[in-house]
């Protein structure tokens, strides 16, 4: 199948910033504080930073790998394991992308269900949201990128809402620093992984960036901006909530929005949740796009032919996971899979690919 997409379908390198950032900031921001605080308490915000630094490293690895292969993850797999096994591995990764989309969508619907409309029909809202996803994904990668761009533009101002919590915050809450053991710290970093997931979609959309080598700088800035967003959110939440209170607060960011008051509107969380649609949509769209692209690369099926079945499967998935426990399970499963993919699989691929290319070069020489 064609490796290089047409020139007019490509996006400028600086969009890597938005693509990376929008994929990493999703439903996680609404309630990650509780999970990381479970192990590392008031020190957990530092885990956000260390986790982020690891992501910087992984993005660096991915770029080395992709530059050398001159294509995407599928090409890397073929380089290492040949067509058959490589294809199987790529398929696994594609399936993982699909689950990522499902997790994000289902968690967002859960938020809607808990916070806005307790009596809402899951299948109804899921259908209409997937309709939006279809509309964007069928427009191609440029449209999906545009969505990511607008998502960052619309979502970033929401950080400033934390200002409303500042006057009730006790910054001494995050003191003393380094009050937890290294293992606690490690566990918190690991928990943080789920929130940073999504950048690995780079492995599939890489060929769609114009002069992709030039986009590395932007990707790294994208990761940096993600870390910034998460760190600000974590520090402010730790200062605003007591640790005991945080344990009882499932959606800390959303609860914080409850105190936001403007002269023309109170109870900002309803606006926030609605606006969050624009933050969640690109997550789902990029992941779904990656699924269709993956199938096209491996099995040469047209993207428009896979899109509808993939959306139907995701729709079925949103109906399958019913209550809080099951959604938690889904989240932790995908988180675990993502954890192994980014912390073990990508470094492993990186080393293997490097070795393979070295051996091959020797042979050629």
């Amino acid at each position: 199948m064609n490796l290089q997409p047409k020139e007019n379908k490509l996006v400028s390198p600086y969009f890597a910033f938005y693509l990376i950032n929008t994929m990493q900031v999703g439903v996680g921001v609404l309630g990650f504080q509780r999970y990381i605080a479970k192990s590392a308490g008031h020190d957990a915000w530092m885990a956000v930073i260390t986790g982020g630094i690891l992501i910087h490293l992984l993005v660096w690895m991915s770029y080395r790998m992709l530059k050398n292969s001159g294509g995407d993850l599928v090409a890397v797999h073929e380089d290492i394991a040949g067509k058959a096994i490589g294809g199987a591995l790529s398929t696994l990764f594609t399936v993982y992308s699909g689950f990522l989309a499902l997790t994000v969508l289902r968690t967002y619907i859960e938020v809607i269900q808990v916070w806005m409309f307790p009596h809402i029909n899951i299948w109804g809202i899921s259908l209409i949201l997937l309709g939006v996803v279809y509309y964007f994904v069928s427009g191609g990668f440029r449209i999906v990128t545009a969505l990511g761009f607008f998502s960052v533009i619309l979502g970033t101002p929401l950080i400033f809402l934390k200002y409303f919590a500042v006057k009730d915050s006790h910054i001494y809450n995050i003191l003393p620093l380094f009050d937890h053991s290294v293992t606690d710290f490690f566990v918190a970093t690991k928990t943080m992984t789920l929130n940073y997931l999504g950048f690995e979609m780079l492995l599939l959309y890489y060929p769609f960036i114009k002069h992709p080598e030039k986009s590395e700088k932007w990707s790294q800035w994208g990761v940096f901006f993600t870390i910034l967003v998460y760190t600000i959110t974590a520090v402010e939440s730790f200062a605003y909530y007591s640790q005991g209170q945080l344990k009882h607060t499932i959606w800390a960011t959303l609860t914080l929005w409850k105190i936001v008051e403007f002269p023309f509107v109170e109870r900002f969380e309803y606006i926030g949740i609605s606006m969050w649609l624009f933050v969640v949509l690109p997550n789902v769209c990029i992941a779904v796009w990656c699924v269709t692209r993956g199938f096209k690369r491996v099995y040469s099926i047209k993207q428009k032919h896979t899109l509808i079945p993939v959306l139907i499967l995701i729709f079925a998935g949103t109906l399958f996971f019913k209550d809080r426990q099951e959604i938690d399970l889904l989240n932790s499963l995908v988180s675990k899979a993502g954890y192994y993919i980014i912390y073990f699989y990508i470094p492993l691929l990186f080393v293997l690919h490097w070795l393979v290319l070295k051996v091959r070069r020797k042979k050629d020489a």
């Binding site: 109804g124 259908l127 006790h170 007591s242």
Partner: protein, 360 residues
């Protein structure tokens, strides 16, 4: 293809049938204030105050009415209340929740728990304790030009800007769920046809145990937070009194040896102006120094007495434990709680009085 479009249209029409439950503004009763009283047989009695309108849309008049019922759980009370109202209740606009003293001293865990879970309840609502029955308090009319829910909310709100420490539902949760501090809330009473704040109601976790008078709430606020408003009366000499108007106050806690042998120094810095010092010439440097000294002495005394009283009761509304935790690694709350009543606390006040008034 036309078939596909028809299908789309059919699905859309079908979706229309599955929209979430509507809560149209005029078809619900917006509960403004909830009052909880204790009732016999382990029951609680809830009274809700609801705004109502009379007349058409042009000349509508707002007033409030109350409903009240008794049961074991707050959810069930809602059920019972529903039986006598024309429209369903909605809890999204609750602005004040009041507990009567007896119920509060029995503990309010259950009510807090159900409030906490309800996503439509805000976090900047006020909790309060009332002397006497909340039912009586809510069902009376007050000549203040506002309906009861708005009156209560505004009254508490503006006092928290002044001499009363900030305490809303979020602050309550902060201390209630967190370790090392105890919640407090305003204590209301009905007097001379008005509702007034009578003081600070102090809680030991979920139980109301003690209160500080409204006059002393300024001292409490000085210890509790930095703020920029409010005033307090001091005694000057034998018969003279003066009022210090706070311009800005800062409090600083120094906690030593939090894990082993704790000792606490509290420093309060107040800049204020004296407006009402009958007969004292305020332009004399010497006089001002004297006034500053008097205020400082009285503040230190009052504050130390107050902290001592809190320690004796074993409650910690100032969050000393929380602050101590931030000063020490591997902090042990159990040990702290044992030592708490006997920790030496020293308060130091630094007062700066600036010229007051527009004439000399």
């Amino acid at each position: 293809m036309p078939k596909a479009k028809l299908m789309m249209a059919a699905i859309l029409l079908f979706l229309v049938g599955c929209t979430p439950q509507k809560q149209v503004l005029e078809d619900i009763q917006l509960v403004g204030v909830v009052g909880y009283d204790d009732a016999s047989g382990n029951k609680i009695q809830a009274t809700v105050s609801v705004p109502t309108t009379e007349g058409g849309s042009e000349q509508a008049v707002l007033s409030s009415t109350t409903y009240s019922a008794r049961s074991h759980t707050s959810r069930n009370i809602r059920q019972i209340l529903q039986a006598e109202t024309p429209k369903p209740f909605a809890s999204g606009r609750v602005s004040v929740i009041i507990f009567n003293e007896e119920l509060a001293s029995r503990g309010i865990t259950k009510i807090i728990d159900s409030l906490q879970r309800d996503p439509s309840v805000g976090r900047n609502i006020y909790l309060a304790v009332a002397k006497g029955s909340t039912k009586d308090m809510l069902s009376k009319e007050y000549p203040v030009g506002e309906i009861v829910p708005a009156y209560l909310k505004r009254m508490i709100e503006q006092n928290m800007e002044l001499t009363f420490p900030r305490a809303n539902f979020h602050h309550f949760n902060y201390s209630y769920y967190g370790k090392g501090s105890d919640p407090f809330m305003p204590l209301l009473e009905e007097k001379h046809g008005h509702i007034r704040i009578a003081g600070v109601a102090l809680f030991d976790h979920s139980k109301y145990v003690d209160h500080i008078s409204f006059e002393d709430s300024f001292i409490f606020k000085l210890l509790y937070q930095n703020f920029r408003q409010g005033s307090h009366e001091y005694k000057l000499g034998k018969e003279n009194y003066l009022t210090l108007e706070n311009l800005s106050s800062h409090v600083n806690y120094d906690i030593y040896n939090a894990n082993t042998n704790p000792k606490i120094n509290i420093t309060i810095r107040v800049t204020g102006k004296v407006n009402d010092a009958a007969g004292t010439p305020l332009y004399q440097e010497k006089k001002i120094k004297m006034i500053e000294k008097t205020i400082q002495k009285q503040t230190e005394q009052d504050a130390e007495k107050m902290v001592d009283r809190l320690q004796k009761k074993g409650i910690d509304p100032l969050g000393l434990g929380d602050r101590a935790r931030s000063r020490a690694r591997r902090f042990d709350f159990k040990e702290w709680n044992q030592k708490y009543p006997d920790i030496p606390v020293h308060v130091k006040a630094k007062i700066k009085v600036t010229q007051g008034g527009i004439v000399e």
